[in-house]
């Protein structure tokens, strides 16, 4: 942990242009490309040079979370290798969950000190977007504008694995014309949970409905989160019930002008 923090302050003190490798995630790449292009836009506005290695695919989380460790390991090894190839000072992802997976990589190599070391050093320079902006670049205003009432949904892995909590709120509060409100139980799970959402769809939907009720009660125009997967879960239900509330990734909100 100290190495991560040291690394962060070391980078943070260099206010100048920074080389950032974008870890876009497979979900964003395939299903929500606007989050990717918005992330690039926001990072550039924050003074970063953005690189994207087209060899990246998935971080391995679906297999890891379902119990298929050797499959997750194969995918993780590729990810580690291509991060090592990158000259970028930081690897930034618009996903708390996928970033957290990279931070969990060492669990995939219980008996292999070599890989554990490599996994640790990749994790030390892999950051979730809001954390990177606020904690590393020390920026909380990226010149965004959005007129409407918005709230933040704390995606579980960002919140509980990476401690992302105040960072997105600080960023949202600086968005011009946006009114930020806290929704009841913002830190409660949306019920997605990866394969959980299709293994136990009824439970997943029941958990989701509590989130939806709280959102509807808050009368917001948009729910903002830091993970495309939660947004697909929440947005998918809002769409099904014909709600006017829209879902937005933080990167999309911050890219809006």
């Amino acid at each position: 942990m100290t190495t991560v923090l040291n690394r962060q302050s070391e980078i943070g003190n260099r206010q100048s242009t920074m080389r950032v490798g974008l870890f876009v995630t497979c979900i964003v790449d395939q299903m929500w490309s606007a989050i990717g292009t918005s992330t690039v836009e926001v990072l550039r506005r924050a003074g970063c040079t953005v690189e994207f290695d087209e060899r990246q695919t998935c971080c391995g989380q679906p297999a890891f979370n379902t119990g298929y460790r050797s499959e997750a390991r194969r995918v993780a090894e590729r990810f580690i290798e291509l991060c090592e190839d990158s000259k970028a000072e930081a690897i930034v992802s618009p996903s708390g969950s996928c970033t957290a997976m990279v931070h969990h990589y060492i669990a995939l190599f219980p008996d292999d000190e070599q890989w554990r070391r490599r996994a640790r050093s990749v994790a030390a320079r892999t950051f979730e977007l809001s954390w990177f902006l606020v904690r590393v670049l020390k920026i909380d205003d990226v010149g965004a504008r959005f007129s409407g009432r918005v709230t933040w949904h704390d995606a579980c892995h960002g919140l509980r694995d990476l401690n992302v909590h105040s960072e997105p709120r600080r960023l949202i509060r600086r968005v011009r014309e946006a009114e930020f409100v806290e929704v009841e139980n913002a830190d409660a799970c949306c019920g997605f949970g990866g394969t959980f959402s299709v293994k136990y769809p009824e439970i997943s939907a029941a958990i989701l409905d509590q989130k939806i009720e709280a959102i509807e009660r808050s009368r917001v125009d948009a729910v903002v989160a830091g993970d495309a997967s939660c947004l697909m879960q929440i947005g998918g239900r809002l769409s099904r019930i014909g709600s006017k509330v829209q879902v937005m990734h933080l990167a999309e909100l911050l890219a809006a002008t």
Binding site: V24, C26, V28, D29, Q30, W32, S33, G36, T37, V40, R44, F52, E54, R55, T57, C58, G60, P62, A63, N65, T66, G67, Y68, R69, E71, A72, R74, V75, R78, A107, C156, H157, L159, R160, A188, C189, G191, G193, G194, F196, S197, V198, K199, Y200, P201, E202, I203, S204, A205, A206, I207, L208, Q210, M232, Q233, G235, G236, R237, S239, R240
Partner: protein, 497 residues
Amino acid sequence: MSHLDHPTTETFDANARAALTDMQLRGALRNATSLFGKRRLEASQSLDNWEELRSQARAIKDETLLHLDRYLEEFTANAERAGAQVHWARDAAEANGIVCGLARERSAHLVVKSKSMATEEIHLNAALEAEGIVAIETDLGEYIVQLAGETPSHIIAPAIHKTKGQIAALFTDKLGIAPTEDVAMLTSTARRVLRAKFAAADIGVSGVNFGVAETGTILILENEGNIRLTTSLPKTHIAVMGIEKVVPRFADLEVFLKLLPRSGTGQHLTAYQSLITGTKRHADDEGPDELHLILLDNGRSRMLGHAITRQSLACIRCGACLNACPVYQQIGGHAYGSVYPGPIGAVITPQLFGMAKAAQLPYASSLCGACREVCPVKIDIPELLLHLRAEITEGAEQSRQEAGGSRQGEAAIKRRRLERIAFKLWAAVMIRPWLYERSGRLFRVLQRFVVRGGKIGKVEGLLARVAPPLAAWTTARDLRPIERRTFREQWRDKPVD
């Protein structure tokens, strides 16, 4: 309990679906779990060193579990020196055998019991009943559950699934009182009935919250005074204690006394704390003539072998993870089909009672981590769930033998085999960027069958059978289709400033 009459761990999915249709249950759960959660948070914030206490508690547990054999021997020696008789039970059958044997020798007809998860775990009441001995639960929640012919659905609040109205109807039906929803009236009725049982009981059976190695003392916490009566009125007191309940020093109790009531009920301290060291010293002292301590293993020592599973034994049974769990909040405890429900139940049930029967439980979690956040002894439950999931996928063939060819077991194995193939394919695709991209394009073509108006709505019929996950997702939610142009395609067109 209507449709949940005999829920088992094997049928978790069906149990959960049934629970979700029970709106009374869900209302009761919602009220109770949010109230407990709020109280826990306030109580934990009343101490400025909460995090430090959690770490201390965990360190004490870790140290104890690393040297459990030594501490158990020390506990046994000191308890016996104080006049207790210590029995070791390898499993439930042995533990029940010891209790029934003691009851037979004393020609006991009536046993009063205080709330104890260990005795629930070994199904002691059924064992006593088979011997013709009546066992009466004296904790109000347990008594309600026993009257209703049910099992507890929460570790510390056994009747959490019941509404006031349901309890009133139950009392009218079983105890013959006039219909009332007045809580004071209901509790005084229970008190009246139970007082008579205490006076007539031959044996009192309790659980144990902590056993202190250096003194041989047991500590039991409660709010109703029924444990005081159970452990002091009958001539014989039998306490059933999981082997993980031991702590090295008396001073260690201070840490746990701050954590357990706050995490469980949100109290700063429970109304009663009974510290029992052996039997009474003088003939005219209060208390039972004999104290029997039963040290129960029942699968626990299996968990000691691995650092990840070992932490399961640090659990102090506060129930905080149940209240915090989004899954438990929706389905309650009975759906788990185990005396230990919720997140901690999902990790200890398969370890105690075998993976073959409980393989669904480690998957009954969104891995949100709320359980880890509230756990007073910092058990990393998500880590444990992931560990068990890996064990399940790696031990598919072994669990097949254990499942013994039941229909549910066979279906589960078939599903798992398909899942394994799917993940092997997935990995083969994900390590080849070109194949990943081609696959994406293939799905983009295939999805034309289901995309309507820019989204994928409910998928039914033949398509649902071809792609069960797609059907599962779209039952309640629309799905975003794959992008017309993926991020990487856009990047290729316009990569730099």
